[in-house]
């Protein structure tokens, strides 16, 4: 009886679940940037907060990150690097992985996550499209120049992401910490010493060395500090410079409401792998590792398009209040491997910028940054009352 059940179970898994997983893979897999995202990057000491891993775009995550993929997850504060235990991560749903934590002392914090390398097999067409949509223009150019646009590839990819957030008012030097990831952004100044209208320089390190002439994309979304929140979702407003996008798995469209909108299609076929299943008697699990979309149209190249200089440094304009994200994909041909044709290393850095304010008090007008300065109002009021008083006293 038990054997019969096992047989039936295996048959079900094989005939029903397996095709279902492929279907899920076809629908879900997409070109995924990985970001560490917080609702706000300005936190209070000893405050409960949630850090989310967004695997998709900065605004919408499509897949969780399973713990076994994480080579490193750590937070640096007060000069100390503390590993995040794998058990602390929770999957909010099938798309977002969260870490609930309590902030510590006031200071500038760095959080980082580094993931294992994976392989993906792609058709030439799909690869070319993804290079275009994700802004890996240099490799696309190489393929064009070398007449390789029709060559299928096996890409080995890995993602390494950082976020810098400010707890309380005290600025500490942890922002400059090099986490030692295969690729990482290291800001050249504390992002929380910068304000809207300033520029921030960030150095890109590849295996610890500056990566020159690498293409970088920098963009931002409005944060809680820079736009109104309605109590109801429908009240949440975005202005024209805020990027919005929508996914539709049915019509295979993904558009960004940005002036630099670009849309294209991805197709998926059975050759796409990196969709793992492990089946055992105690159940099964599956996981999507693909970094290339199949059924969606994507663009990841909105915002500022920058290139690092000889020292691997790029300068980002912090034009408006918001949460900024830098992203890059470094890709090279793998000449030393029979298994893979390309290696890519993905990096992102996120932080928040607000307009200048009283750094000591960390207080500034939420909606009224352009309002009358306090001292003008106080001084003006005193002067007016004083002048009027003397006028009326003379008259009396």
């Amino acid at each position: 009886m038990h054997k019969q059940n096992t047989k039936l179970s295996k048959a079900l898994k094989h005939k029903f679940f397996k095709p279902l997983y492929y279907l899920i893979a076809i629908v879900l897999l997409c070109s995924h940037d990985l970001f560490i995202k917080l609702e706000t990057y300005f936190l209070q000491p000893n405050q409960e907060a949630t850090l989310s891993l967004f695997n998709g775009t900065f605004e919408k995550s499509d897949n969780i990150i399973t713990r076994d993929r994480m080579l490193d997850a750590s937070v640096v504060a007060q000069g100390e690097r503390v590993a995040i235990e794998a058990t602390k991560w929770e999957d909010q749903d099938s798309t977002i992985t969260n870490l609930k934590f309590r902030t510590g002392e006031s200071g500038t914090y760095v959080a980082g996550v580094s993931t294992k390398a994976r392989n993906i097999e792609l058709t030439a067409e799909k690869f070319n499209k993804y290079l275009k949509s994700d802004g890996v223009f240099d490799m696309l150019q190489q393929r064009t120049n070398d007449n390789l646009l029709d060559k299928d590839v096996v890409e080995n990819y890995q993602k390494h992401v950082k976020a810098i957030y400010q707890v309380g008012d005290t600025k500490t030097n942890d922002w400059k910490t090099v986490l030692g990831y295969p690729i990482e952004f290291v800001p050249q100044a504390n992002p929380y010493d910068k304000h809207t209208g300033d520029q921030l320089q960030a150095q890109l390190l590849l295996d610890g060395k500056p990566l020159a002439h690498q293409l970088i994309f920098a963009d931002f979304i409005k944060s809680a500090h820079s736009h109104q929140h309605g109590r109801h979702e429908a009240d949440h407003t975005h202005d024209e410079q805020e990027h919005s996008h929508s996914h539709s798995h049915d019509d295979a469209k993904h558009t960004h409401g940005n002036s630099e909108t670009e849309s294209h299609d991805h197709s998926h076929d059975e050759k796409t792998k990196d969709h793992e299943h492990s089946h055992n008697d105690g159940g099964h699990n599956h996981e999507h590792h693909d970094n290339v979309d199949s059924d969606k149209t994507h663009t990841h190249t909105s915002g500022q398009q920058l290139r690092t200089d000889d020292n691997g440094v790029a300068t980002v304009d912090l034009t408006e209040d918001g949460i900024y994200y830098l992203r890059t994909i470094y890709m090279a041909r793998a000449t030393d491997s029979d298994e893979i044709t390309h290696r890519s290393k993905w990096a992102t850095l996120t932080f928040e910028v607000t307009h200048a304010h009283n750094a000591d008090a960390h207080a500034h007008d939420h909606e009224h940054e352009d309002h009358i300065p306090t001292w003008v109002f106080v001084l003006g009021s005193l002067m007016i009352i004083g002048v009027l008083f003397f006028i009326f006293r003379k008259r009396a």
């Binding site: 500090h225 304010h357 500034h364 939420h366 009224h368 106080v378 009352i385 008083f389 009326f392």
Partner: protein, 226 residues
């Protein structure tokens, strides 16, 4: 007991900076509210009242006109009831309006109070509207202003009514704290022989401040300043 202006001025100096923070609802406040604690809402409500100069100018105008603590308590109670009604109901119902327009009307209330205190209606041979009624009406408007500001924050989805009530309680605490020095200064200034000049100076200032704030808010409205 004669109290010299030299003695009053330091109190004025203490009070007036509170006028200057232009609705000091800050992103630090937003962070505070993000903790989702009711205490935070109370704190932000109190801060908002203590740093919202238009509310304080109006209250100063009301207190200036009145003699005796009993009268002051009566008018402040009516003002409080007025702003509680709109603050709670508008926020709970999600009714909001352009902040510049609401603040412009609040600025007009400051102007109105100064004008009335200076006997403006009498000079125009017009019967002044019932003062208590007008304070109640302006209370409603100020409450709507407070509501609009509260709604500019992300309040989350849970315990909305409790949050509003706590914000409201904070506003009342802030109002009491603000009224203490206002009443103190005005009461003592009455005993000074230069009170008439001081009275006129402050109320003319209210008129000018009302006009200035009104124009400022309209400028903000038409130029889309956030």
């Amino acid at each position: 007991m004669a109290v010299s202006l030299r003695k009053i001025l330091p109190f004025l100096l203490v009070l007036i900076p509170a006028f200057g923070f232009a609705h000091g609802v800050t992103s630090a406040d937003q962070e505070l509210l993000r903790s989702d604690s009711l205490w935070a809402y109370m704190q932000v409500g109190a801060t908002h009242m203590l740093t919202g100069y238009d509310h304080l100018l109006f209250l100063a105008g009301v207190v200036f006109y009145l003699n005796g603590i009993k009268d002051i308590l009566k008018f402040i109670t009516v003002f409080t009831i007025g702003h509680c009604i709109t603050l709670i109901s508008a926020t709970y119902a999600g009714i909001t309006a352009n902040e510049h327009l609401v603040d412009a009307v609040i600025a007009l209330s400051v102007l109105y109070k100064g004008f009335e205190n200076l006997g403006g209606f009498k000079k125009l041979n017009v019967k002044a509207p019932n003062l208590l009624l007008m304070v109640g009406v302006f209370g409603l408007i100020h409450g709507f202003g407070l509501s609009t500001r509260l709604q500019s924050f992300d309040m989350g989805q849970d315990h909305i009514l409790a949050k509003i009530l706590c914000f409201n309680l904070g506003v009342e605490i802030g109002q009491v704290l603000a009224l203490i020095p206002i009443v103190f200064i005005i009461t003592f200034s009455r005993r000074h022989r230069q009170f008439t000049a001081f009275y006129k100076a402050v109320n003319w200032y209210l008129v000018l401040a009302g006009i200035g704030l009104f124009l400022y808010q309209m400028y903000g409205y038409f130029n889309g300043i956030e």
